[in-house]
């Protein structure tokens, strides 16, 4: 067989035969796999944060000790009319006594301690109230009223935010390292092929011809690496979700990736291949200009 069939996939420059060229697709596969895993962690943390945001916010309102029952009633009525408030439940004196018993003992009928009156306020799911403003308005009704803000944001939320940020930085770092490695491999490959480049130029090849071949090579390696890396990462993620679902893994309540999340993850290999190809093109331009 002669002619086009045996020639279509051959490059004039023997990049595929070089060690560096051979490893390019595996470098890109590793970068893709790690970047997708990191991005998946960021997506999971983000999903958990969104779920947390949709949970009803419950805060405790403290009225100064000695607040009259009528004032408590007025506050409950006011909260009932306030936008976003689902329930306002005063904590009964008995319940309060039970709450403080471990620390203060049995308060009995005539306790000398001034215990504040508490109201549990539950907001609508997903509604985030401006507690500072609400507190100011409540103080007009009962001076000294305060919200317990420590209960507003559980410690897991901060951890999830940090995890999301760390995972995003890691994903960017893996993509960047794949891009930088591609540029370095292409530069090294061209340096090793100076004689061939000279020969092709002697036959009348313009730099665009050489660049086209090299970019084509990088694109092919990139696509093969990206597919392999994404497939590996996908399997690891599915296995992680399957295994993780059987255990209680804090701070995650659930390990779930929606179809749209998977779609988002496919953007990682695509971005990596595009950036790697662009970096290769720039590296080739510079190397050829230097060799001219």
């Amino acid at each position: 067989m002669t002619g086009p069939e045996m020639s279509e996939l051959e490059l004039d420059l023997p990049l595929a035969e070089q060690g560096t060229g051979r490893f390019l697709q595996w470098i890109l596969a590793a970068a893709t796999c790690l970047a997708v895993l990191a991005a998946a962690l960021a997506v999971l943390a983000d999903a958990e944060l969104r779920r947390a945001a949709m949970r009803p916010m419950v805060v405790t309102l403290a009225l100064p000790a000695g607040t009259a029952a009528a004032e408590v009633e007025a506050v409950v009525r006011f909260l009932g009319r306030t936008e976003g408030v689902a329930f306002a439940d005063p904590v009964s004196e008995e319940e309060l006594a039970q709450l403080v018993e471990p620390w203060l003992g049995d308060l009995g009928e005539e306790s000398p301690l001034a215990i504040p009156r508490l109201i549990d306020v539950t907001f609508d799911p997903g509604f985030r109230a401006d507690l500072r403003e609400l507190e100011a308005r409540l103080r007009e009704l009962v001076p000294g009223t305060t919200f317990d803000r420590t209960a507003v944001e559980p410690p897991e939320t901060g951890m999830l935010r940090n995890l999301r940020l760390f995972a995003l930085i890691a994903a960017v770092a893996f993509v960047s390292s794949g891009v930088v490695a591609t540029a370095a491999v292409v530069r090294a490959g061209l340096r090793a092929q100076t004689d061939t480049v000279d020969l092709l130029r002697l036959m009348g090849a313009v730099d665009r011809y050489l660049e086209g071949q090299l970019v084509d090579h990088v694109l092919r390696c990139g696509l093969r690496g990206a597919v392999a890396g994404f497939a590996t990462a996908g399997m690891l993620i599915l296995a992680g979700i399957e295994i993780g679902g059987r255990f209680d893994i804090r701070p995650f309540d659930a390990l779930v990736l929606r179809p749209v999340d998977w779609l988002l993850l496919t953007a990682v290999p695509i971005l990596l291949v595009l950036l790697a190809t662009l970096a290769a093109r720039l590296a080739i331009d510079r190397s050829l200009a230097r060799a001219a």
Binding site: T2, G3, P4, D12, D198, R201, L202, M203, G204, Y209
Partner: protein, 235 residues
């Protein structure tokens, strides 16, 4: 052909040095008319290969002017230089074949660089390889060929585009007599069809057998008059 192209190559006072070394070519004056055939002779180290490299635009000159195909070859941009190079076929002494490509792809390379349609590439390469007796070697990589066969592939690659100017550096030195004679016929046939040929050789038999003008080099200089041998003697 444009009038100025009746002269393919004109070199005036051309000198050349490699990097920071001493000059290897000194004040070369040379004129090659379109369709001419010249032998280039001289002892080893006389500067034959360097002269061919200068004409092929692979090394810059340190002094002098070169007009190639009517263009000032010293001050060319990348695209224009590439265009001129596509009109030149070069046979290297050291072959310079690409070991990762098959014989077919090595020979097809100049055509593909010229963006010749693949069907035409297949036909022309197959025909030429058939003619030079390498039909059964098309799929092999050059390292698996004998030295003589590699020489043939180098020549096939140089002539596949039917270049306007063919520069050949000792093209027949590794071939047996039968193949050398056959290849010489190929060069002569190209010359008859209008290709300008400059062929460097040591082979005295070749010079005696083919009555073409001879340019003689020595110590980086073209001997004055530059024409020696049978034709000069006849003139």
């Amino acid at each position: 052909m444009a009038p100025q192209e009746t002269v393919i190559l004109r070199m005036r006072s051309v000198s050349m040095r490699y990097a920071a070394g001493s000059e290897v070519l000194h004040d070369i004056d040379l004129l090659l008319k379109a369709g001419s055939f010249h032998f280039l002779v001289g002892p080893s180290g006389a500067g034959k290969t360097s002269l061919l490299r200068v004409i092929a635009l692979t090394v810059p000159v340190s002094r002098g002017t070169i007009t190639l195909f009517g263009r000032d070859a010293v001050a060319l941009g990348e695209a224009e230089r590439a265009r001129l190079r596509r009109r030149i076929g070069v046979v290297f002494q050291d072959f310079r074949l690409l070991g990762h490509l098959s014989v077919f792809d090595n020979v097809a390379l100049p055509l593909r660089i010229n963006r010749v349609p693949e069907a035409v590439v297949a036909r022309r390469v197959t025909e030429l390889l058939d003619w030079i007796g390498l039909r059964d070697r098309t799929r092999l990589p050059p390292p698996r060929l004998s030295v003589g066969e590699r020489q043939l592939v180098t020549i096939a690659r140089a002539v596949i585009t039917r270049p306007d100017l063919l520069l050949a550096d000792e093209p027949l030195s590794n071939l047996d007599n039968r193949r050398a004679e056959r290849l010489m016929h190929l060069f002569v046939e190209l010359h008859r069809r209008g290709t300008t040929v400059l062929l460097a050789t040591h082979d005295k038999g070749l010079l005696e057998h083919h009555r073409f003008p001879i340019l003689e080099m020595d110590s980086g200089r073209l001997r004055s008059g530059s024409l020696i041998g049978p034709l000069a003697a006849a003139g």
